[in-house]
Symmetry: C2
Subunit: 364 residues, 2 copies
């Protein structure tokens, strides 16, 4: 059953359009008054990015920057930002989506002079922090896609499908988390938790073993590092449906960080709140599981150990569980993949490991 | 409307089980007769791989190899192969799927001594060439997944979904081509062609611009190099539904080769026939399109030119179109991505480029 709803996805698009209108009116007003138009936005420089313990994610500090067209060096990023606002306005009104790469190429038709895609991506992030909406809200999506499988009925808000409903058990390979799914409303579900899974093999295993029924779970395949649209869906499942979230990744520093980014976000999305799920739990595969289950493993390489050192010092890794498991990694100097459970046959992970872990994780 | 059907997907699984039974009976029979069991299979060494101009794909020659357990060096791969046959039998009977990585780990529980995954992958390929079915037919899938969007109704053959039908316009982000889709029957469609698209951005563009309606097309996102399940679906759409297939990739040697592998396969699948579509056409983006449409482009790098040289000499690239475009690449020394059309706005590629190309391609 659906418990609460924060705000509708359609309302968000409307709000983006309103913010863009305000942005345009502000600039036009300045020009009409005969002053060089300028903008103010939060600074995204590393000195202004802090880890906020209370809300448990990276946030931007109080520093702001001004883009003043009187300054010749500012004209270029200012113009790029205004052009982007225009494009985004068009995208939303026409109900179309685009990618970061598309935006870079589109700019060339308008002689908006982006040196490379890194520069155009940066302006997209500027627009996010200026209007305080994620780029998914203004229809700019990455290419990577992950999948979801759940007894969850959604209602589309995209054109041509608006009002149509779909139950996410419809396709046994899972349903793609693309622009249409990311912007759909949650209508009804009997799910009681969300399980996020790094690898496709384990996602398929969970699905074939009916974990979605046995554990009343929404299954999400992150396909490696979870794309932003997927992190947004996880956030919404947690907030709108009050579902606890558990994350399963490979037992190595890279897997740990996939979980951590779902939980507390990344430094370059410090200006956003809708991509994090601070109450989500890293549920495995832990370093200690390698020992406990005698999983097939490999030695940690130089690069893995270097990464582990970085994580150890990262403020997001202060909690006991993380620190404990980092120490186990140092002790055993081994890593393992999720598929390593196949050593015990295809069902071990679902019949033994998963129920034990779900019991255990409650105490963390 | 569905026009013809070659054989049902369920029949294929039955045939795999029969072949496995024969394989087992053969070995048991040999043992009962008191002789060291042996097997004979087509040699997959490069000297036995030839390009067959008539069927337009790589094929294996007449050379065979024998695995004789009297020879101590053969015992290991022989045992691995028999073990794999046992696992595959179990997978099919239980209606479960697995991945190449899973198979490698599963072997460890049985003390089947694979040195690494390359070795276990190799034995999977041995089993393919021995029983003459693709590993998808015995439920071993890769992780990568691509997507399909079409007014095409399918009927699942996988357990729990058997007999259920789905129209592939059900989800506006496209439907994942995973184990369940790859093994589904085609029931009904009004489609008249198949368009394969390398990049997700262009797939989404086609979908939002309703190319599936305007061109009565099945849209397939290959997600880079098409995974085998996707190549199999393309083959089946061509064979079972008589649909012509057109492939759109980036304008560079790597994009050309994505098209070529869909058309005539790869050397390491020379023992299979169901992964190729020799009548499929490479429809763009051509090197000559970079000039014609003044697409934003980059210079060909050293690595690109080296690859181009290889393609020029490859027997699969003998036809006029390929040779002509390779020459254009040499002349202009440039490459372009599919998204480069966004330079002309989001609709140019659908409203101008695509109809012109579909007209033009008929003469190739």
């Amino acid at each position: 059953m659906v418990r609460k709803k924060t705000e509708s996805m359609k309302d968000r698009k409307k709000q983006v359009l309103e913010r863009l209108k305000e942005l345009g009116e502000n600039i036009c007003g300045q020009i009409e008054k005969g002053i060089f138009p300028w903008l103010e936005m939060p600074s995204r420089s590393t000195s202004n990015i802090q880890y906020d313990k209370k809300i448990r994610q990276y946030v931007l500090g109080d520093k702001t920057i001004k883009r003043v067209t009187r300054n010749v060096r500012h004209i270029r990023p200012f113009t790029q930002l205004v052009w982007l606002g225009d494009m985004v306005n068009m995208l939303i009104r026409q109900g179309k989506t685009s990618t970061l790469r598309d935006m870079f190429y589109m700019s060339q038709a308008y002689e908006v002079d982006f040196t490379d895609q890194a520069e155009s991506d940066d302006i997209v992030t500027d627009l996010e922090s200026l209007i305080k909406f994620a780029r998914e809200d203004f229809n700019v999506f990455p290419e990577e896609r992950s999948a979801i499988y759940a007894n969850l009925t959604i209602e589309y808000t995209v054109p041509r499908y608006e009002g149509k409903r779909l139950n996410l058990t419809v396709h046994p390979d899972g349903v793609i988390i693309g622009p249409a799914l990311a912007s759909a409303e949650f209508i009804d579900t009997d799910a009681e938790m969300v399980l996020c899974i790094e690898k496709g093999a384990m996602f398929t295993r969970f699905l074939e073993e009916e974990v979605h029924k046995k554990f009343k779970a929404v299954l999400i395949h992150t396909a490696g590092q979870a794309p932003r649209a997927t992190r947004h869906i996880i956030h919404r499942l947690n907030r709108e449906l009050n579902l606890p979230v558990y994350i399963f990744c490979d037992a190595d520093p890279w897997g740990m960080h996939i979980a951590q980014v779902i939980i507390s976000g990344s430094a370059n999305a410090a200006h956003l709140r809708e991509l994090t799920t601070p109450d989500a739990k890293w549920a495995g595969v832990w370093a200690s599981d390698i020992v406990k289950y005698q999983l097939p493993s490999e030695r940690l390489k130089e690069l893995d150990l270097k990464r582990l050192k970085e994580l150890e010092r990262d403020p997001r890794y202060r909690e006991e569980l993380w620190q404990r498991e980092i120490q186990v990694f140092y002790d055993i100097k081994k890593k393992a993949e999720q598929e390593a459970f196949s050593r015990y046959g295809l069902t071990k992970i679902v019949e033994d490991y998963l129920p034990k872990r779900m019991e255990e994780i409650k105490s963390y």
